[in-house]
Symmetry: D2
């Protein structure tokens, strides 16, 4: 059956979607707080969505927690360097969300995704450019850095289940038990609803990653509840589901939803063909490399003490 | 302005499109001959479209010449080996189109496209697995192969203009003048209209490659006229333009074309955002590697004497 | 100081070296048993070295245990396929060393090394081509394979400490605790002493991997003692230390060791410059890809029930 | 037969070698001028070797012409950026050797070597990061750059003969005839004699590239004589031939050359095994990427008007 649901990993878009479908446009949703600010230097729009009650979570379709979206239209394009201002903005928002980063701690950064699938390689690529310190600190101490405080930073690219036969959560749990970090950051490629958000939006959230609908107990969850340490997820949308594109067209003004019968076999077949298809930019290969560098530099900045 | 044109590189789809928009469905088009056969062993549907007159070319929107389409639904999926039956079918159709391959000759195989862009890398990847003989023949003669007849096979991956500042046609012309092959094959990734044709269709044509509308004189053309030797193009669709997907939906039965005003700003904006976006399969990275291997093996078979 | 020691990861070479330096050439060493057989079909020389006592271990400089070396001179060169006969020989020797493989069990295959360093990438590349079953078995059971017995196979490419800040042993311990395999295979690139053994020798051992001299307690050991399950190491030499090459020359007959003073500053400087240098074949990039495929196919064969 | 010749692509080393084997050390060689200067800011040693007569060429074993060697010990190691000072030094020396670069001209940059072989990939990698202008200038003119003078820069990575069946010189000649650049730069990985020069030396020469001994007519030469435009070669040694390493040891003081009979079968066998082997650094994969970036940035600087 055709489903009217539009997939998005962005709380910002989920919130927009609820707003739009309301008749009282822009009436507040109970249990959901939204703050918007524009930052001139980095040309970024910062939207903080706080889901504070179970009802708010149900309305938005995302778990309770804090979501910060950085919309940076310049990010998808090339730059002299690595979009330093945007990286600085991300570092700043990360410090806001995780004050613990201001004092020495130990951090595991996990890059989710499949390195061999372009649109899914963001996480592993970010890991490639991180400044890793844990092994140096264990071998030589802080003297090696000539500093009083140095975060212990380790990283992991666990790959995907089809490659290694294990749930990502199993690998991460095992590594956390052995190496005992106090904080985990997890970087992942996301799906958006709106094409204009591809490669130009970063979402930060303290809810971790909860595959599926966000309801119920998941053996695959990467959350504070399942892993025992705070889990901050950092994501950038790199694709839009092909079916989502088509559904967006159907929501355009003037589209006569009444007469277009989505139960007809031809329509169902078209949507079926769109499964396992995604929409992405023609320069996705280059963009992913650049994006990953912006994010790894942001993390390197955020980890400086 | 919104254009009702749907982009496809496949003559088969261009022909279908003309047929569908006709009221007399399946009435023959003058100057266009179509033959269809099903080959059981390779589970392939072979469609030969011969455009024999200028009027036929105008009707279809493709240059005069012969187009052979091999629809091989199994090709997109994995296989024990490299889809040997489909490769054999392609070799067979290539011999049909180019009888000159049955006697010793010299062949330049060109892999168009950008190796660093997944959906565009088919051509360069095919080149990577070809059996190249020209340098061996020049150094050691046919004795090296212990055969009476051996094709001289050379290859080139010219890259793309954004990388090297030169038209592909300039590089190829220079190489042909220096090395004087008698026949050129050019392999390229194509855009289709129908998602079901992605990675499961091969088009062979003796028209070469004529960028743009196929009308007028092109400095970038890769054709017998511009290069002085027969040019056979081999292509596989790897993407569908995102706008094409949406336009396909608008052609579904029940879609109220009359009331949906594509001149409205919101609709125009949606189509504008879809520029530079394409739709492709979630396993495109793996699929391109496999496809390229099927085609290079087909060429290696076709070049055996 | 110049050290007369020649580095090799091969028990076979360590044994040869002890033999050669003995005046009674080929006198047996107590606690070391050696069997040699030639297998015609695969054109391989199989040498089994069993170190059965602590004295034997001290004499050879390798831990007690069983070492099987497959010398396959054809392996370094190209082949129609993947050197099927050699892969079958490796599968056969693996079954001999690990009879547990003949009955259904669960196996973790670890690919050590750095995917981005050609000569060190063997382990990760082997993992890429393994048939992984664990996630399928957990989701669908053996019905998915239509067989009565299916090994549960999972895999891991843990990367290297400089990349992730963690000891390889930490990651592996964590993963074993979470996923509880009954057996571990670990694949690694080795250093040989003799250039002719590069890419043409496979060593199998049930001692696991013990970095360094093989004496004492190691937090980094990958052994049954440290991990709690049997650990079988599979290695192929891909490099020779540059200093080892030079030392080999010094052992040639006619080399007047007496007059060549290795304490001289110029000699010391030369050896110092050779640190961090290795010797390898000019076709190492291609060879590693081919080798990894032979080994992954051998494992896939060995895991068939 | 064992050959006493030591292979080096560096004129500097060829000159050193001649000097050393002379009894009158440092006596000038007729037809060879040598200037040495140390540049503090970039911590580089610049050696200019001018071979001005045929006798000089014969003495050194290199063609007549100018050779500039930049020894930059810092270059092999990592840096915050891309070794900007060294890049600036290379740009400066390039302007000294090619004054034509100071006025608007058209330049073809060729990256020799095999992208898939780590130690040989320097040339193709340099091409990847060049600022290419030719296609922009042809399409939009200098207005696109808002400048009065802009070099027309194009590039080519022709691959290697084993891959495409054509001599590199054939491809380059064809491209030059079609696109008519006024100057060609060619970037290549070199072999050095001294390990300490690996990845820390850049050689610039106006002799182009003359494969083999530098004597006689070569169809494969990339020189002004063969191509009709000035050819500047830029090379960095990335490997030392394994046999060269061993021969270096034999030249150490105290090495008893008299008694060490290189005609003995064991010695000959050892040298034979060293064929097709090279010595390189353990971090060669990473180093090549960094080096290529330093050189491409140097070229981008040198091409600014």
């Amino acid at each position: 059956m055709y489903s009217s649901q539009i997939r998005t990993d962005l709380a910002l878009e989920a919130h927009e979607s609820v707003q739009t479908s309301n008749k009282d446009v822009h009436s507040p949703i109970h249990g959901v707080e939204v703050q918007e600010t524009y930052h001139k230097e980095s040309n970024t729009q910062i939207t903080r969505v706080f889901i504070t009650t179970k009802n708010g979570a149900k309305a938005i379709g995302k778990p309770m927690g804090r979501y910060i979206t950085i919309e940076a239209p310049d990010m998808a394009g090339p730059d002299e360097g690595y979009h330093r201002e945007i990286a600085a903005e991300l570092a700043h928002q990360l410090h806001y969300m995780v004050p613990a980063l201001k004092k020495e701690t130990s951090i595991l950064v996990v890059g989710l995704g499949n390195r061999d699938v372009t649109a899914d390689a963001l996480g592993p690529y970010v890991i490639d450019n991180l400044c890793i310190t844990r092994h140096i600190l264990r071998e030589y101490g802080k003297a090696a850095y000539n500093k009083k405080q140095v975060h212990s930073v380790s990283s992991l690219s666990p790959g995907v289940m089809a490659q290694n036969g294990m749930e990502t959560a199993e690998i991460i749990k095992g590594v956390i038990e052995q190496t005992k970090p106090k904080l985990m950051l997890v970087v992942d490629a996301l799906a958006a609803r709106n094409i204009r958000r591809l490669s130009s939006t970063i979402q930060l959230t303290d809810t971790g990653i909860l595959p599926g609908s966000g309801v119920g107990n998941h053996r695959n969850a990467l959350t504070e509840e399942s892993l025992g340490i705070p889990v901050i997820a950092i994501g950038v949308p790199t694709v839009v589901d092909a079916a989502t594109i088509v559904r967006s067209v159907m929501e355009l003004p003037g589209f006569p939803g009444d007469t277009f019968d989505t139960d007809k076999p031809e329509v169902q077949k078209t949507f079926h063909d769109l499964n396992n298809m995604y929409v992405t930019g023609k320069d996705i290969d280059e963009t992913i490399k650049r994006l990953s560098y912006t994010i790894s530099e942001a993390l390197n900045m955020a980890f400086e003490l």
